[in-house]
Structure formats: C-alpha cells, structure tokens
C-alpha cells in the first residue's frame, strides 16, 4: 500500500496520478494560525484519511482545497487546477460534504437531489435524481423532507448529493460524526466502491477504525501536519516503544507510571494499560522494577494508531509551547 514511489516524482504536482498537491499552505484568522505550512499530496483513486483533534485545521484545509478559503501563503493544485485562481473549475469536479448537514431541510429528498443536478447542469436532472435515489436505497423516502430523515439517512443523502454530479474528487468533512456503527460501515463500503471506480476521496475523521480503512492517512494537530503515509508507515515512523500491562489496580499503576521519566503516555485499554515512550532504553529502565512484580503481566506490543497520534499531539504541543 506504500505510495512513496509515486509521490517522489520531480514534478508530480501536475502529474496525472496526483489529485491534490499543495505546499506551504498557511491560513490564519486574526492572530490565530489555523493551518501552518501544510504540504501534502494525494494520489488519484486513493482514500486519504485526514486525522486530528477538533480545531486542528482539518476543515480549514479542506475549505482551502476547494477554493472556499484563500490561503494566506503557499500554493498548490487540486485536480490540476490552481487552488488560488481556478476555484470555479475545481468546484465543478469536486463533491464537498460539509461537516454539518447542508442540504435544504424543507425540501424533499428528490427535490434536493434535483436542485444539485440542476446547479451542476446535468442534462436530465429528474432522471439523475431518480437514479441517485435508487442507488442510495431511498425509494421509500424520496418524498420525505430531508430535515425529517434520521442521522444515518441524512448522511447517506448528503453523500448521494455529493456524488451526483460525477465528481473526480470527494472532500468529506467528518462524514460519520454521530452515525451508528452499521451505517458507518455501509458508508465506508460505499467509499471504497467509489474509490475503486477511480474517485479520489479525502475524508476527515476522529475514528481510528476509519483511519485504518484509508489507503493513506495524514495527521494534523494545531495546524501542523505531523505525519503522513500508510498506517504501518505512520506507526513505524513514530519509533514508539509500547508495552501492554495487565493486573490489579491499574488506575494506581497508571498514575505511578505516568510520573516516571521516559514514559510519555499511559492509556487504559479495557483491562490493560498501554505504556509508551519514544526512547526504548528509557522505557525499559522506567518499568524495570514493575516488571519484577509477579502480579502484573507485561507484554511488548506494537503501538496502536491512537498511541501514535496522542504521542504526536503531545509532542506537537510541547514543540509549540
């Protein structure tokens, strides 16, 4: 799943296999720098996961990519069009699903889809809307007002509206927030199907399991891109040493461990703790006496993506403080 080779082209920015290529993107609102010197590339046909805590600049980045915000600095292309000057052309080929439901709640499912089809100038809006309704399995709800749909159906409809004009790129801003697991799974199956047809998908999310369903991920915190690559690449690049420990009184143990030098993160996972630190020797030294405790079971383990992200975030924060 590595894409390192494809990304290494000398002038890959306009290359046919690159959907998004931006460098040095910076955006601030007032004194608040929301996105800082962001450089990234997304290969055509890839599902690119955009991860990061709330307020980390994910939405701002997505808005800059589709021309809704003008970057203060930096440049780049989206589908080969300049994000600064060719917003009109980008809009024609991008489906953008906003974080909050942004279809007309007082229009029916069919009317909403027909509106989108008309704005994009599809030759037969009625037929396009009808086809989308069938594809989405919304037949029974076609005449229902969009505002009356449940969360899962709303999200489904929103995705349907985005894909209706046959875009080349989908920008999905936290599409599965507040959606139940079954609907989420169906949603991701749909995304993979679209990607298989050649659509590029950039999706922001909070969910680790969703991150692992992406071909490639980028982690952004405090406006800075901290890591990108495939999931194994990102984990490997973290150089994090992680131990899993289980036993009695884990809460007390967590507090003890958190105070120890060399350990940057202690996170409870069900009946065990994940204990991590960036320096293997220091971590080993820090837990040496506790490993002798026969009540505890220690196992070396690979850091989870979540471990990696929380580590990245705390380091990112430390670097800025």
């Amino acid at each position: 799943m590595s894409t390192a080779d494809e990304r290494a082209g000398p002038d890959g920015t306009r290359g046919a296999d690159i959907a998004i290529a931006v460098e040095g993107l910076t955006k601030s609102f007032g004194a608040n720098v929301v996105v800082r010197d962001l450089t990234m590339q997304v290969r055509r046909g890839a599902i690119y996961g955009f991860l990061g805590p709330n307020g980390s600049g994910k939405t701002t980045t997505i808005r800059m990519l589709c021309g809704l915000l003008t970057p203060d600095a930096g440049r780049g292309t989206c589908l080969g069009y300049d994000i600064r000057t060719e917003g009109e052309k980008i809009r024609r080929h991008v489906g953008y699903m906003t974080q909050h439901f942004s279809l007309y709640k007082d229009l029916s499912v069919r009317e909403n889809l027909e509106f989108v089809a008309r704005v994009y100038g599809l030759p037969s809006p009625r037929r396009a809307a009808r086809a989308a309704i069938e594809r989405l399995g919304l037949d029974d709800r076609a005449e229902q007002l969009a505002g009356a749909l449940s969360g899962g159906w709303k999200q489904r409809l929103a995705l349907g509206a985005c894909t209706l004009p046959n875009p080349k790129l989908l920008l999905l801003d936290e599409p599965t927030a507040g959606v139940d697991p079954k609907a989420r799974r169906e949603f991701w199956n749909e995304i993979h199907m679209l990607a298989a047809q050649g659509l590029t998908v950039l999706v922001s999310t909070h969910y680790m399991d969703e991150a692992e369903r992406c071909h490639e991920i980028a982690y952004i915190a405090y406006g800075t891109l901290l890591a990108q690559g495939s999931v194994p690449e990102v984990i490997a690049a973290s150089h994090l040493t992680t131990w899993t420990v289980s036993g009695p009184n884990l809460a007390g143990l967590a507090e003890t461990l958190a105070r120890r030098d060399g350990i940057t993160m202690v996170a409870p996972f069900g009946t065990s703790l994940h204990v991590s630190g960036p320096d293997r020797d220091k971590v080993d030294a820090a837990i040496a006496d506790l490993r002798a405790d026969s009540a505890l079971t220690w196992e070396p383990s690979e850091p989870s993506l979540e471990d990696v992200f929380i580590d990245l975030m705390s380091r990112g924060q430390g670097g800025r403080a």
């Binding site: 805590p53 709330n54 809704l68 003008t70 906003t98 967590a254 507090e255 993160m265």
Partner: protein
Amino acid sequence: MAGLVPAIHGVVACRSRNDVDARDKRGHDEPDGMEAAVMRGDGMVMALRRVGAMLIKEVLQLRRDRVSLATMITIPLMQLLLFGYAINTQPRNLPTAVLLQESSDIGRSILRAMENTRYFKIVREARDEQEFDHLLQSGAVLFGIEIPANFERDLRRGDRPALLVAADATDPVAAGSALAALTTLTRTALLWDRSIPESTPPPFEVRTHARYNPAAVSQLNIVPGLLGTILTLTMLIYTALAVTRETERGTMEALLAMPITPVEIMLGKIAPYVVIGFLQATLIIGAGVLLFAVPIFGDLVLLATLTTLFIATNLSVGYTFSTLAQNQLQAMQMSMMFFLPNLLLSGFLFPYAGMPDWAQVVGEALPLTHYLRIVRSIMLKGSTLADLHYDAIALVVLMLLAMTIAVRRFRRTLD
C-alpha cells in the same frame, strides 16, 4: 490493534492530557447540588434567579449584536428628525409654471403677489399650451398659471378677466392650502398698482381648475400610493431574508462549493418574487378599482411594466441588505431602516414638494418616490412614458446600483 476506543479523545491518564476542547473539562457536568435545590422548588427566589439567568444571557447576546444596538438608537432618532424637520403638512414653495399669453406689468404684479404668499414658486415659463400641459402631466410642477391675452386691457375696462390656475390635485393635501390662499389674492394683489379702479367685486377672478382629481377624493391618491408602499415593504422583506437564511441554516457552505455564481444566485432568488409582487400589485389595483372606484386613465401595459421594474428594484435592495446582514434579524432591521424614509420622504404620507431641499435629495434616492409619481401619473393623469422617463430611469439606476453592491458584497468564499 486500535479500534477498541473509538475516538482520539479517549481517557489518557498522563501528563500529556488531551485537552483540545472543553469536552473533557471538569465542572461541565456536575448537576447534583444545584439541581437538587431547584427540584425542591425554593419558590420565588429560585424563580427570580432563573429569570435573572435568562436576562443576563439576553443582555450578553444583545451586546454582541451591533446592528440591533445601532437600530435601537437610529430608528427613533431618524423618526424624530424626519418628522421634525422634513415633514410639512402645509407645504410651501410648490413648483409652479406660468404661461404668459401677454406680457404686462399687471400680470407680473399678480405673479409676484402669488410668490409672496410663499405657497407658489415659479420655476418654469411655458412657451405654449402644449408645454404647459406637459409640465403638469409629468409632475414637474404642481401648478400652472395662465395669464390670458388681453388680460390688462380687460382689467382696465372693468371686465373682470379670469386668471387661470391649473392645479395637480392628485395629492389633495399638497394642493389644498395653496388653492385656499388664492382667494385672498384677488383683493390684495393689485392694491399698490396705480390706476386700477377700486372695486367690489375684485377686479379679476381666479379660475382654478383642479386637474386629475377634481373632487379631491383622498382614496384616489391613497390607493396608488398604498400600492407602492405595500410593495416596498413586502418585496424588501422577501429578499432581505434570502441570503441570511442560507447562512443561518448552514446551507451556504455547500452552495458556495457548487459551480454557481453570485449573479446566478441573486437572479434565481429574485425572480420568483417578481411574479409574487406582480400578483400582489394586480390584487391591490383590482381592489382599488372595484372598491374605491380609482380610475386608470393611462396605459395598463406601461403601468404593468413600470410596476415590475419597481418590484425588481425593491427586491434588489432587499437582497443587498441580505448580503450585508449577518443574520435574519439584522436583515429585517435594515429593511425597516430603509422602509421608514420611504414612507416619510417619498410623498406618500406627506407632500414631497413641501419638504426642504435636503429631504427632497434623500427622497430622490428612494424607489418609492419615483414609483409614486409613476403610479399616480399613469392612473390619475393618463401620463405616458414620455412624461415619466426620468422616474423610470431613476428606478433602473437604483436597481442596478443595488444589484452591483449585492454581487460585490456577496462573499464567494468563507474568508
């Protein structure tokens, strides 16, 4: 590996506490003590406290709403200033044209005397009957005075010649007091002119002709005026909410991400209301004709065309407010701020000609001023486009101006 804890915001017992937003802050969900007290129902005190909580919240929100605060001060101030300075129910210096069929000292004396009443202000001298009629027909003047041929000779002979005063009585209020002042004129005008025989009855008579609304029926004036006023109010509000509604409902971002331009959005939003406005106008005119017997002397097609233009102008102004305001309430307040001078300075409630110059300048910038002239002229005077081209052009200019501001102000991005 991962996936056990679904979100990044998992519990992290460590010095690198995940405190990105307020979600995991303490004190956020500690209901027990307080709530129990409320539950017990401590009666009035607690009720007052809750009222206080609501009050503080409202004041805080109000403080952040600059536009609302501004309207709280400007609306009463504007009303006061307009009523105090601009409005005059006994209008003076009304524009008057003269047609001199002979040039005589006596004629000039009479005209001077008329100007001395301060009701008439001679602004034009017509060359012939045709121009004289046109000046009245187009609304350029409210009065026309004709001094007939042989006026001085007949006067000296004691034949009591007639001075003709034609008044535009479409607005009975404007013409009323000036016409009343004319009755004393006959006795006083020539008091100081020598060699005019003193006589009772007076040496000449003033023959007034109240054109267009001879019986001074106020409905004839009010109904066309009301048409313009109602259209202004409804059209402004329809489109004032158009853009802010999208923003408030969260549909704006998606709309901006679609390949549709601000001009296209504007025209698409205005168009349906043009039809609605047209139906409204038809309803009002129909009711005016049926219930109040208001005549339509002019061309219906011209009336329909210029009414549509007026509707589109107001819709454009409302749409402009929509792009300036941050929410629907602000847009409504802006519309009200615009409607108020329309009501007071357009000549609907109070005679336009009686207003001071500055107020007339403001009035010229309001669509209703021009439409009132148009609709009254077409319905009551049978005026044609040739008489009304100035007001028609003014409406077009105001509409294009509003549209330009709207399109330029419309934020194509979320910056």
